[in-house]
């Protein structure tokens, strides 16, 4: 089923128009020794029916677990309207809006998205997305270094409480350009503000709010401390939490300089990890360092308002080697979904989700810690995730919980050797009291 519409007659007529005898002749510029149609590991074609059954059997495997895992991907409710709209062919099967006049739908969505993200982060500018939160943090760091390199050298400080995957991705992305990353140490799960000293000059400081353990960082103090030392502040944030948490633009006395994070909590299914999208916002002064697309409002020949991609001179297709990034394809469709999601929820709806999550996680933690040997690892305040110490290795417990239909969280031993018995748990607004009880009972069983 190769989705090709030609009849044999049409193909014949086309070959005649070209003036060749057969299909093979179309490939006569490929040296014969390079011709190969061997595709042994590609199976014979399946009908859509057979393919869907094959895929459904695989999708079914291990599905339907009650989800208490977070760590960067969250089981939120997504209103049905979000994807009913986002997956309309007009959004889903268009390309990047290079021909502005034929892409006003997408361009206006991006403009609305930029406006919403600016509001949520209290930053002046937002781009039209980067790949995901982790790679976006890498872009943010490169941006900061470009903006601040002469003053502060190519070193960047990342809080130890930043998601370990993100820290690794940042190191990989910026390392090739000679940018160094160093760690701002944590104490009891969060940046130790009391111990903030006088480091060597750095270009930027990265802090995550809520942090990897779900704890709240003292972002005002850290921001002011960094600014006093001439470093830019990069805020890695959960956009859903910003409905109730102080936005990066208001951190400290001047606000963070760049805000970024993963947009998954804004209407994107967990989907086994992706696609999600990274958002990236900044102060207006930094806009020319911004990677990725930007949509701007302008006027047409008749003076009618419309939208177009703008400041393209930052981008690879214009500036090539001098571009702010190599990014080209981004995560447009997810941005569309997130825009619709935010429009549906509004500020109050989003706050409701945030508070629902926090309530549920508190109820969960309260219930789990009533089980003998189960304790929170760090003190409050956590937001909607919490590290919990178990009397057994967390990975083993997780595997056992799966047999009860429960995804009990994320085992932290792989990231922090001293946390082999620690589980990071999360209960979103979707979890009911009954769900929490199911988890607790299962855990009691496993630990008994």
């Amino acid at each position: 089923m190769p989705f090709i519409p030609h009849t044999p007659e049409e193909a014949g007529a086309m070959l005649r128009e070209i003036g060749v005898a057969d299909m093979e002749a179309l490939f006569d510029e490929i040296p014969t020794e390079l011709r190969s149609d061997a595709l042994e590991r590609v199976p014979p074609g399946m009908s859509e029916m057979a393919m869907l059954r094959w895929m459904a059997e695989r999708a079914g495997n291990g599905s339907g677990l009650l989800c208490f895992a977070g760590a960067g991907s969250y089981d939120h409710h997504i209103p049905a309207a979000v994807w009913d709209l986002a997956q309309r062919g007009e959004f889903m099967t268009a390309y990047t809006p290079y021909q502005a006049e034929a892409s006003q739908g997408t361009l206006q969505v991006i403009f609305e998205y930029q406006s919403m993200m600016s509001e949520l982060t209290a930053m002046e500018v937002s781009n039209a997305s980067v790949y995901d939160g982790a790679s976006g943090l890498g872009e943010a760091v490169l941006m900061a270094v470009r903006a601040n390199r002469r003053a502060r050298g190519g070193t960047v400080l990342l809080a130890e409480s930043v998601h370990p995957h993100y820290r690794e991705v940042v190191a990989n992305i910026v390392g090739n350009q000679g940018v160094k990353t160093r760690t701002l140490p944590m104490r009891s799960g969060a940046v130790d503000v009391a111990a903030l000293g006088e480091p060597n000059p750095v270009a930027a400081v990265v802090v995550q709010q809520p942090n990897f353990f779900g704890l709240l960082e003292q972002v005002d103090a850290i921001t002011d401390w960094a600014h006093e030392r001439g470093a830019l502040v990069i805020a890695l944030v959960n956009p859903m939490a910003l409905a109730v948490l102080k936005p990066p633009g208001r951190w400290g006395s001047q606000g963070a300089d760049i805000a970024c994070g993963d947009g998954q909590p804004l209407g994107v299914p967990m989907a086994s990890g992706g696609p999600s999208f990274g958002f990236l916002c900044c102060r207006r002064a930094l806009v020319r360092q911004m990677p990725g697309r930007l949509a701007g409002r302008t006027l047409d020949l008749d003076g009618k308002a419309g939208y177009t991609l703008t400041l393209q001179a930052r981008e690879q297709h214009i500036r090539r080697g001098k571009a702010t990034s190599n990014i080209c394809t981004n995560q447009g469709l997810l941005v569309t979904a997130a825009t619709i999601h935010m429009a549906l929820l509004g500020a109050a709806g989003l706050a409701q989700v945030a508070l629902g999550c926090r309530n549920n996680t508190r109820n969960l933690v309260e219930r789990l810690t009533r089980i003998r040997g189960v304790e929170t690892r760090f003190d409050e305040p956590f937001f909607h995730e919490c590290a919990v110490d178990l009397p057994k290795p967390a990975q083993t417990v997780l595997e056992a919980l799966i047999e009860h239909g429960v995804l009990g969280g994320v085992a932290l031993g792989g990231y922090f050797p001293d946390m082999a018995n620690t589980l990071l748990v999360c209960a979103t607004e979707k979890r009911t009291g009954a769900d929490i009880e199911t988890y607790a009972r299962a855990l009691e069983g496993v630990l008994a």
Partner: protein, 512 residues
């Protein structure tokens, strides 16, 4: 069109979705009200103040100004907005280098299965055998198609695949302490992501010219390579829509100089089932699944850019990948692959796009893949032949087109003062998305045209008719062409104003 914010200015107070809503909402509440609303907003239905215990200083003071509108207002607004777009589902979209082919709905259905959509990315392997098996199968298929030894699916677009590949080249040289290699060569016509990637990986870029036939200028290449050469990035077929016939020689020259060969897979559609980059001497490559593998472009993404490597670069592939041991699939991480350039994403890349590509591959099968190569090439050559007969100039009239080809409209530009951009905008009025314009840069007044295999002969004939009509119009009434488009939601937009006055977010009051 009115923005959702303008609708909200009067329609607000009726947020569509409130997880716990039962009764009439108030207006966008101040945060303290929000807190109160949170009291019974949780799924548990149990009371509790969501903000209790959080330091006052960390709480938001005023709620963000998001739209507060009803569900109908949202549905109507975005339904009507979507109608302003051209798309594959609605239009012929022969955008060169972008492979805008049909995106099968079955593949979308497969990736949307609840078992995939609702899966947490950190689910233990024991509960993910089906999902991991899918990724493993895709790795195998892509290895076979490209002739590579290893494939990592994690890059989230072509450009990130390039980043991974060039970082692997660097890792390779570094591992051999070959640290003097500071340059990446790219053909002058290369896609912008190639030089940009090289720079992101800390390399200097050196361009290599093409000869008049559109192949790489071998003498120029010889002059450019040397001990500083880390590698050469190129596509084949090239961005000019030509198969690089001297690829064997090029590979030898670069390899002899100690450099590596990077294959930009954006143009793989042309040679699917016909030839393999691995056989051509490439060491590392990326694929654009959103192009060759028909996963929808989504108005600008998401994509997926798996990176493949031959034996030599195998140890450096990014993690995670999927391994198969004793009949069980598992994630391979840096513990398994200590030489890996490491992670590139928070989890494991754009799983949904990978699943779509797998579904597409399964439906095509090996025979279908060969037909893709054949018919994408047939369509491009047919369209080229017809346009030529209709009086248009091919940029490389003596060459065979691949899956795409370049037209140069400089004759028209000189004769009538009607540029390629004017032709492009006028095509929109004919209901056709414009081809890629002004790329590759070296071809003046360029149209890069890629019809893809899923378009019918009828559609191609209509395109020729439209071009012919615009050609005539350019002679008779060039102003009409220069003023296009006329039938779209807006006429030609002022890009200079957009850049100069930077209006990037909605503001209350008149927005112009």
């Amino acid at each position: 069109m009115t923005t959702i914010f303008d609708i909200a200015r009067t329609g607000r107070g009726a947020r569509a979705q409130y997880p716990g809503e039962q009764t009439a909402p108030a207006q966008a509440p101040a945060t303290r009200q929000v807190h109160a609303a949170g009291r019974d907003g949780s799924g548990t239905g149990e009371p509790g103040d969501g903000l209790a215990g959080l330091p006052e200083a960390l709480i938001r003071e005023a709620p963000p100004n998001l739209p507060e509108v009803s569900e109908l207002q949202v549905v109507r607004h975005y339904t009507n907005l979507s109608a302003l777009n051209f798309s594959i589902d609605g239009h012929f979209y022969p955008l060169g280098s972008c492979t805008m082919k049909y995106n099968p709905r079955g593949a979308h259905r497969a990736a949307s299965l609840a078992g995939f959509q609702d899966r947490h990315p950190l689910t233990p392997d024991s509960a993910s055998q089906g999902f991991l098996g899918c990724l493993y199968e895709l790795q195998e298929i892509l290895k076979d198609i490209t002739g590579m030894q290893g494939m990592s699916l994690t890059p989230m677009a072509g450009a990130q695949g390039e980043f991974a590949g060039v970082a692997m080249i660097r890792a390779y040289h570094d591992a051999r302490n070959d640290t003097e290699r500071t340059e990446i060569l790219v053909p002058g016509a290369a896609h912008g992501t190639n030089p940009a990637t090289a720079v992101m990986c800390g390399y200097r870029v050196r361009e290599v010219a093409l000869d008049s036939s559109g192949d790489m200028d071998v003498e120029a290449l010889k002059a450019a390579v040397g001990p500083h050469t880390a590698g050469l990035m190129m596509t084949n077929p090239s961005t000019c829509g030509l198969f690089e016939r001297k690829i064997g020689e090029i590979a030898r020259i670069v390899h002899d100089a100690g450099g590596l060969l990077y294959y930009d897979g954006a143009n793989l559609n042309a040679i699917l089932g016909k030839a393999k980059p691995g056989d051509m001497g490439f060491d590392v490559l990326h694929l654009n699944l959103h192009k060759t593998f028909a996963t929808p472009h989504g108005s600008g993404g998401p994509g997926a850019g798996p990176v493949g490597a031959n034996e030599r670069l195998l140890p450096y592939l990014p993690v995670p990948m999927v391994g198969l041991e004793d009949g069980r699939y598992r994630w391979l991480t840096r513990d398994d692959l200590p030489g890996s350039i490491g992670r590139l994403s928070g989890f494991a890349g754009n799983a949904g796009i990978l699943l779509r590509a797998l579904a597409y591959s399964l439906m095509l099968g090996r025979e279908g893949m060969r037909r893709v190569g054949s018919f994408s090439t047939l369509n491009a050559n047919y369209l080229a032949a017809r346009l030529r007969r209709a009086g248009f100039d091919l940029a490389y009239p003596d060459r065979r087109a691949t899956h795409e080809f370049a037209l140069t409209l400089s004759r028209q530009a000189k004769a009538c003062g009607v540029s390629a951009m004017d032709f492009a905008k006028r095509l929109l009025d004919h209901g056709v998305h414009a081809p890629t314009t002004y790329f590759p840069l070296l071809i003046p007044e360029c149209f890069l045209i890629e019809p893809t295999e899923t378009e019918s002969k009828d559609e191609l004939d209509r395109f020729v008719d439209a071009m012919t009509a615009i050609g005539k119009e350019a002679e008779q009434d060039p102003d009409r062409v220069r003023g296009a488009p006329y039938s779209l939601p807006v006429r030609r937009l002022d890009e200079v104003k957009a850049a100069r006055e930077l209006h990037l977010t909605w503001k209350p009051g008149p927005n112009d």
